[in-house]
């Protein structure tokens, strides 16, 4: 176990942690702040990844390509999808108990998976990163590191900063947080809470779709990919403390380190280490690391 090995593993941990935050960020908004248990979050992530796969050739053909153009078009579609879903389904769920939310969002998973199967098929697909991010940088004499992975990390950091700023430092963020504590009170103060929540929900969906689109070149695109990230997303939000962006970021990084080093040092227990971590943290702090006040 050399120093360079240790440093590279730290980089791996950091990178995985940031990727986790990226994937879980939308859930922080929808589950953490709006309080809706959204099992379909993984499906939105999958939709994003398939968008990256299916939209890129279309954009290439019509607009002459461009990685960011594709991302923008995907985001617009995602916001529209989120807006419609909130209007048609989720707006009826705020006052209901959690079991009904679980049932409906589970139903959505089945619908989205089946639609994916009909529209795109069941094959595994690769997505090429944009040429200017396709290279890799040498890392000591050990190995090379793909530039695209570093790009993902940068996107995560920007996103975390942006989310924290909007929620903690702007008037809009204040209204959103107030709404999560007391819907009726905010409404009675003359704020259109229904519209506000529709927008927040759409933003949550857009974040999940963005995560899928950004992660697609690194993770490839395959059936059921959303279900794999769903559980770990909930773990991130719960460890971090419901509704806290800071907590989610810290939790994601913590999981990144535990998972990476666990895989190498405690191979037999690699599958459970993250959940042991969650249990320990909840024993110590039942509300997670940072509970939003």
């Amino acid at each position: 176990m050399t120093l360079s090995w240790f440093l590279v593993q730290c980089l791996n941990s950091l990178q995985y942690g940031l990727l986790l935050f990226l994937v879980a960020s939308g859930l922080t908004l929808i589950f953490g702040i709006m309080g809706v248990i959204n099992l379909a979050h993984g499906s939105f992530y999958m939709i994003g990844a398939y968008m990256a796969y299916a939209l890129a050739p279309l954009v290439n053909a019509t607009l002459g390509g461009g990685f960011f153009t594709t991302l923008m078009i995907g985001l617009v579609l995602a916001v529209a999808l989120g807006y419609v879903l909130e209007w048609a389904f989720f707006s009826f769920l705020y006052e209901r108990e959690h079991l009904q939310q679980v049932l409906m969002t589970y139903g959505l998973i089945l619908v989205f998976e089946e639609l994916r199967s009909i529209l795109v098929g069941d094959d595994v697909h690769g997505v090429a990163p944009p040429p200017w991010l396709a290279g890799s940088v040498p890392l000591g004499d050990l190995m090379t590191y793909p530039v695209y992975n570093l790009f993902i990390s940068a996107v995560c950091l920007l996103l975390a900063l942006g989310m924290w700023f909007v929620l903690a430092r702007t008037r809009l963020g204040m209204t959103i947080r107030a709404g999560s504590t007391n819907r009726e009170m905010v409404q009675s103060l003359g704020i259109d809470i229904q519209f506000l929540y529709r927008v927040v929900f759409a933003a949550g969906v857009a974040l999940a779709v963005l995560a899928g689109m950004v992660a697609a070149p690194a993770s490839s695109v395959y059936p059921g990919m959303g279900n794999q990230v769903l559980i770990i997303c909930f773990v991130v939000v719960v460890i971090g403390g419901i509704g806290s962006i800071r907590g989610a970021l810290l939790a994601a990084l913590l999981i990144g380190f535990v998972d990476t080093f666990g895989k190498v040092l405690f191979q037999q227990a690699a599958g459970v280490l993250v959940y042991v971590l969650m249990a320990l943290i909840l024993l110590w702090k039942p509300d997670g690391l940072f509970k939003a006040s």
Partner: protein, 391 residues
């Protein structure tokens, strides 16, 4: 899901009763009921369809009859879900009274099927699942396999790696039965050839975060890496291995599934990889060319290894049926005939070992363009040891 299954069952029931009426009216030999228990939804759906296509292709070539008996298919979607496997297979055996079961892809499901077949004495032909135990401790004189055991391609690759001069190898796979069996087979041959497996790396199924383990490989600096991954995991592993710069310095060897049905997604990162399997592209034998042409004509699709395995499952059934004149009650005669037969497979002719697993050539294949080009035979007429099989 349930509604569709119910509808399908109702439709099948209807078809079955009509068929029964017809049969009694013409007073012919009753139709042979073939239960196809395959994945028709989920990740392995395409594999299930390919197996059925292959099976039907052979039956079609025989004029729709095997040993003079017409066939009637009863289909069950096993969803590759081991939790539902026992229920599904019992439906076929007890409710539908099928004469023979063909299935399946997923090893966990296949194990439940083997158990039920053993308990009820039903004839079972496994057209894919490689779990060693199916032709090991679970073997029986009415259980056959037309595909491979996980041990086979792995053992062949162990021989190849040792012959190519590797001394130190690292293995990496998912921690589950197929991965464990594959690594065991590789280690057996590799260490027999004078090499040493210095570290067995694994991660929980179906986790695809390989970065930590790739760093571990880089620091261990082995002469070769052996891997067993399939599907999405195979795609990501091959891409990550190349992105980490390891492909240039440490040769990657894999069981054939690493590059089967995944080449389009893996792209250039898979170029040049060596894998072992009992089938490949451009075998270029008259038998295989004829098969590929017929298959492409019938289904407007190129066949793959799964189609071949389905095709051969039908061949094995036909050989046995012919020997007993269509009377499946004669199990011992059926088994004896299949054991003696040389099966004229598109992959190359093979026989069955004592444990009813194919004794077959395992090819060494290299990824060239978007093909798994056969570049030689890694291990000639390799027989699974059938450990734990007592018949």
């Amino acid at each position: 899901m349930t509604l569709r299954t119910t509808l399908r069952q109702v439709a099948l029931l209807g078809a079955a009763s009509v068929a029964l009426l017809c049969a009694s009216a013409t007073a012919q030999a009753p139709k042979l009921k073939v239960g196809l228990m395959l994945p028709y939804t989920g990740t392995f759906a395409a594999l299930g369809v390919a197996i059925e296509n292959g099976f039907r292709l052979y039956v079609g070539e025989q004029g729709g009859k095997l040993a003079g008996r017409e066939l009637e298919f009863v289909k069950v979607d096993d969803e590759s879900d081991p939790a539902k496997a026992t229920d599904n297979v019992n439906k076929l055996i007890k409710r539908d009274n099928v004469d023979v079961i063909v299935g399946t892809v997923h090893s966990g499901v296949a194990m439940a099927m083997a158990k039920a077949a053993k308990d009820n004495g039903t004839l079972l032909i496994v057209p894919n699942a490689g779990a060693d135990a199916v032709t090991g401790p679970m073997c029986a004189n009415h259980i056959f396999r037309s595909s491979f055991s996980n041990w086979q391609p792995a053992y062949a690759m162990g021989e190849v790696a040792a012959k190519r001069g590797a001394k130190k190898a690292v293995t990496i796979t998912w921690k589950y039965a197929a991965g464990d069996e594959s690594v065991k087979g590789f280690r057996e041959a590799f260490e027999k050839g004078g090499g040493q497996v210095v570290r067995e790396l694994n991660l929980p199924f179906p986790n695809v975060e390989f970065q930590a383990l790739l760093t571990e490989i880089a620091s261990l600096k082995p002469d070769a890496v052996y891997t067993f991954f399939a599907g999405a995991g195979a795609v990501k592993f091959v891409k990550d291995y190349a992105a980490a710069g390891l492909k240039k310095t440490i040769p990657l060897y894999g069981a054939g599934f690493l590059t089967d049905g995944t080449l389009e997604a893996q792209g250039a990162d898979a170029d040049g990889l060596l894998t072992t399997l009992h089938y490949g592209d451009s075998l270029n034998t008259p038998r295989d060319n004829a098969f590929r042409l017929e298959y492409a004509k019938a289904y407007k699709l190129q066949p793959d290894v799964y189609a071949v395995q389905g095709y051969d499952a039908a061949q094995m059934l036909a050989i046995g049926l012919k020997a007993v004149n269509g009377d499946l009650g004669k199990k011992a005669e059926f088994a004896a005939a299949v054991e003696k037969a040389k099966i004229d497979s598109p992959r190359g002719a093979f026989t069955l070992g004592k444990n009813h697993n194919p004794v077959q050539d395992i090819y060494l294949r290299q990824v060239v363009g978007k093909e798994n080009k056969v570049i030689g035979v890694a291990s000639k007429q390799l027989a699974d040891p059938g450990r734990g099989c007592r018949m």
